[in-house]
Amino acid sequence: MITPWREAWTGRLLLVLMMAITLLPFVSLFVTALHPSGTYPAGLAWPDDPQWGNFLRAFEAAEMGELLKSSTLIVLGVVPISILLGTMAGFAIGHLRVIGGRVLFVLFVLGLTLPYEGIITPLYYQIRDMGLLNTRWAIILPLIGLFMPFSVFWMRAHFVNMPGELSESARMDGANVWQLFRRIHVPLAVPAIASLGILLFLWTWNQFLLAIVLVDDPTKRTMSGALGAFQGQWGTNIPLLSAGSLLILTPTLLVFLIFQRHFVKALLQGSLKG
């Protein structure tokens, strides 16, 4: 393909500009975080005396250790179960073609686009009656349910493509359905499961609404919900708020940078299918 010189440079310029806009908020947070605590720095200006200690203060103020533990526990509660249940259901609907599967599938698909605000009110009373308010279960259990549409949809899309001969030969060897699922199909589904895991991790970690409604104690929330509480408490101290926001961002950013190729792939596929 012939690429005229000028066109290539316009493209490059456009890219750089886009990246600059994308990064601007992060840079602004960073620079603001270095200003003396309690001040209102104007615009982007490097402080005369960078207050690196703000990060330490924010770390302590936000109880980052607790927050990391809490978010991790929630992710560990949500993601493995969602994957297991979603994979089993996807397998049954997509591969076993269970009777009534189509009706079920449509029912699940209808939940794909559900705005969480739509059900947050009854969910609150339900969780309250279950006695789970202000525990991590209040986030974990509903999220598993809310993630089922996508998980089932995603895994079904994988299993629907698995050739039937696979199962046939395994059945000839006398495997029961569970062994067939466990030994043959799950190993083959690992890439799909990995992508699903990444997406569910991200959505759990960043879940805000459930966290602020169902859990009052920030140290039992997700990272995102905790950031909301942090803003509530320190919103009047902009440098500290910026430092705290950056700290709370960091774990996701690290995970993203380490697994970035998988992330991008998973998110692209995820939105294409979802």
Partner: protein, 453 residues
């Protein structure tokens, strides 16, 4: 055919399954236990926090150091008591209050407007404690705003449902250096003088008033209510706030007040971005010397004395007529105990301690900047004469003399601030609302909210 029937049948099964899931369609709220009105539990002797370790849960307003200073000092004196405190900005706290008090009740909580919380039996009736601790022997005006009738209306009489950490009061702070620049030698004695000063400041290139009016907090309610009290008597305003039958905010003198406020807005006496300024930004601007006046409360006195030592003055809003009666917003810094609080006795003991302990009263004045509650003859800490804290304490005496204490118009109902005053005042700033319509709308919101409850 057979193949098609079966999914159909499972579909039916699904519908049935879902039907059973929807809990037999009983109307909501029918079967859950309703909170009962807590009648004043008789308390034989004044309760204490005991000696066993206890963790008190608190829900406080962020940005105000007084409560935390007090709880810290309390733990120092009572080492068995520790505190687990959550903080939020006032607007968020207001939103969360009913939910929290019902389902995750804190022992001690900074309270927004009380009426609906009392109506729903979410607050502990403190009458028993009042007798046991002798609060009923304090000057009645200290507790008047915290008394509510059966079902939460009207306010101002009935049972006690909360206590104050102190009695805060609002007025006008001014930057002495900037005042000197425009030749202001004494605080304005009439509203007309005040207008002249504002105009002088504007001409001198000084922002006349820094105020907040952004987000969920319409801070122009401060100057507005001061203007209302300048133009008219404070009695009807109080009646409206206390939800007395037939009270209205839409009165001729209040209209004059809103019109006056509109003139200030149009004259450019507030910062251009006042609709985006939150409370903390206003404070930092005032401390930074970016404006002459600020309508605010004495809870900032201690802070201002520290950050602008010697450079800040305080005055009450002048009346429209020379020598007219002075009135301003003055209310207890309200804290209450959830009806279902686990450690209610200890919380009540703490509230009593705040009003009676010598060190607590000192903290109340130094950090809080306001007059502590308590018996009329209670210990009063010394305050240096040239501080603004001294100024606000003196003004408190003036207000008491004129019987001019009003509650805050934002406290008339639980939602009137967020749903009424804040958006309406923001619209007034943007030129999207007229004074007439502003009062009509707020009054309609108010009536709707009272009827709806």
């Amino acid at each position: 055919m057979a193949r098609r029937v079966r999914p159909g049948r499972s579909g039916v099964a699904l519908v049935i399954a879902m039907g059973t899931l929807t809990a037999a369609c009983a109307p909501p709220g029918g079967d859950s236990p309703q909170p009962q009105a807590t009648s004043a539990a008789p308390v034989s002797e004044a309760p204490t926090c005991g000696t066993a370790p206890v963790t008190m849960t608190g829900y406080f307003e962020t940005g105000f150091p007084l409560p935390k200073e007090l709880t810290t000092e309390f733990t120092k004196q009572h080492p068995n008591v520790t505190w687990d405190i959550r903080e939020d900005q006032f607007a968020v706290l207001t939103q969360n209050a009913p939910r929290l008090l019902a389902d995750n009740p804190p022992d001690l909580m900074r309270l927004p407007q009380l009426s609906e919380l009392v109506k729903d039996n979410l607050m502990k009736n403190l009458d028993g404690y009042a007798t046991a601790f002798g609060w009923d022997k304090w000057p009645a005006s200290q507790l008047e705003q915290l008394r509510l009738g059966q079902g939460g209306r009207p306010r101002g009489e009935g049972s006690l449902y909360a206590l104050g950490l102190n009695m805060s009061m609002t007025g006008v702070f001014y930057n002495k250096k900037l005042a000197e620049q425009i030749g202001m030698s004494a605080p304005p004695a009439t509203l007309a003088e005040f207008d002249t000063l504002l105009d002088k400041a504007k001409s001198a290139g000084i922002t006349p008033i820094v105020q907040f009016n952004g987000g969920a907090t319409g801070g122009l309610a401060f100057p507005l209510q001061n203007l209302m009290a300048s133009y008219g008597p404070s009695g009807p305003i109080n009646d409206w706030i206390f939800q007395k039958p037939g009270a209205t905010i839409d009165t001729p003198s209040n209209l004059q007040a809103v019109q006056h406020l509109e003139r200030w807005i149009k004259a450019g006496y507030f910062q251009k971005d006042v609709n985006a300024v939150d409370y903390a930004t206003m404070m930092s601007r005032f401390i930074d010397g970016q404006g002459l006046f600020m309508f605010n409360g004495d809870w900032e006195s201690g802070n201002l004395d520290k950050q602008m030592a010697g450079n800040v003055g305080f005055t009450l809003m002048p009346s429209a007529q020379e020598g007219g009666k002075l009135a301003t917003m003055s209310a207890p810094l309200t804290f209450g105990i959830a009806a279902k609080a686990k450690n209610a006795d200890c919380a009540a003991y703490f509230l009593n301690w705040v009003a009676t302990d010598k060190r607590a009263r000192e903290i109340g004045v130094e950090v809080g900047g306001s007059r502590p509650l308590g018996p009329a003859d209670a210990y009063m800490p010394e305050v240096a004469q040239d501080t603004v804290t001294a100024g606000t304490l003196a003004a408190g005496a003036d207000i008491a003399a004129d019987n001019g204490a009003m509650d805050f118009i934002a406290n008339a109902t639980g939602a009137i601030y967020a749903k009424g005053w804040t958006p309406q005042l923001q619209k007034l700033v943007a030129g999207e609302q007229t004074p007439q319509e502003l009062l009509k709308t707020v009054q309609a919101d108010y009536s709707g909210q009272i009827e709806g409850n």
